[in-house]
Symmetry: C2
Subunit: 238 residues, 2 copies
DNA sequence: CTTGCGAAAAGTGTATACCAGTTTGATGAA
DNA sequence: TTCATCAAACTGGTATACACTTTTCGCAAG
């Protein structure tokens, strides 16, 4: 490469004025690749390749990979190239167990703290999720659902007013959607139940009943948790 | 600093074969400064200054600061120099609430999983803590206590066999000892009670009773939690 | 064909230099 | 004193170089 020619990069940024840092760009880009399944478990993450693909230098790429490594989505070992993390059934079970504990706690706190605006937002999110399901059917609604569902849970986590709790839920207990779908029950089984559970959580929040909210959230998450008995099953390589 | 002389560094590393990376060195060094109170809330963290002090270049320093920022011990804002994080009473309360939830869960799991070797280690740790207290008295024993106590809790967390849980406890819910001592009850009040609680946790683990272990750990941590009544806090912008 | 070995190639870890953007601190005017 | 201004200081990011390790590949031996 020649000398200081970041003109085109600077152009992109200066147009926005947004000043999103290069690290943020790289982080969200790579994270998106993983969470959407565009990159699968075991895929190689080469710093130079990512740098040219994303349009930033190696430095912010390395920072982004380190963050993703800390969050468990990427596996880094010294001098080895990074790979997309693999999630075993045990990993999925662990994540859902911890999410149940922490999100249950969050829901309980949210019950006495959530604002009217946030509660309305939750109702709206659930309304849209159910509408899209009715309109699009079992499988086609899934793409939109994941995003809406993530916001549903995120709003409750935020309403708990416990910043560390919120951060842990957002960054340390994520499971790529593709992995979740691999291990969870089929959509036909869980979708209607999920909506009923969401409605119950809303009812508990509206009643400002912490114990109910916590229990309802717990039930919701434990119902999604792959059966522990399934851990006796054979390990199969795809 | 001078020119590229990493010869002595390489010498140290090659001797060990362990080859601790520069990032690890910087991370543990800075973390130690904060947790021990050698650097206090609000102190400035200048990359160049740290680099020369620790003997590595800016690059690993920046990585270390980013990790510490993610863990909440350091506050980084764009183009601003980093500062050591400040922990309000509310922060301390939040941390202990979350620790109680998660370490309680960990103790419950550990009850049915802990190895004989790990249990023996716990007994030994508690024995030493009590011996040092008897020998050194209220205040002098504190220095050694913090380290032993940290290992006591870490052994239980590891015995829970939940890697994400262990990582969260080790990296997202730390409170500098100085801050803890600022907000907690005076040593004279809590030390004997702490030892009694540790013994009860050991008894519950020995009995392999998960509910007891969880409850005992919960009681232990909630007893250290600063009185929630102190939540008549002042929101202040510095 | 398979296995094993060794060397080249690829890739990460760190140092260093440099510059742009921003904050910080000091100086000076009102 | 208070405020504005400007230079210095500092971080964010790029680029480059090189040491050290892993990975790959070809080649020889079985």
């Amino acid at each position: 490469m020649g000398n200081g020619l970041k003109n085109e990069t600077a152009k992109d940024l200066s147009r926005e004025g947004s000043s999103t840092s290069a690290v943020e760009i790289a982080y969200h880009h790579i994270r998106h690749l993983i969470l959407t399944g565009e990159m699968r478990s075991g895929d190689k993450l080469l710093e130079n390749q990512l740098a040219t693909a994303i349009g930033v230098s190696r430095t912010p790429i390395r920072e982004a990979l380190n963050r993703l490594n800390a969050e468990g989505l990427v596996v880094l070992e010294r001098y080895r190239r990074g790979i997309v993390a693999d999630f075993s059934l045990d990993d999925a079970v662990e994540i859902f167990r911890l999410r149940a504990i922490l999100e249950g706690h969050a829901a309980g706190r949210a019950a006495t703290r959530i604002s009217d605006a946030d509660f309305a937002r939750l109702q709206e999110l659930e309304r849209v999720m159910e509408a899209q399901f009715e309109e699009l059917g079992w499988n086609e609604h899934l793409e939109g659902f994941d995003k809406l569902n993530a916001e549903f849970h995120a709003v409750i986590a935020a309403a708990a007013e416990s910043p560390r709790l919120e951060k842990i839920l957002a960054s340390s207990l994520e499971l790529p959607a593709a992995i979740f779908n691999r291990y969870s029950e089929p959509v036909e089984v869980r979708t209607r139940r999920t909506h009923a559970q969401h409605r119950e959580i809303l009812a508990a929040l509206k009643a400002r009943n912490p114990e109910w909210a916590q229990a309802a959230m717990n039930a919701h998450l434990f119902s999604l948790l792959p059966t522990a008995s399934g851990s006796l099953e054979h390990e199969e390589k795809s």
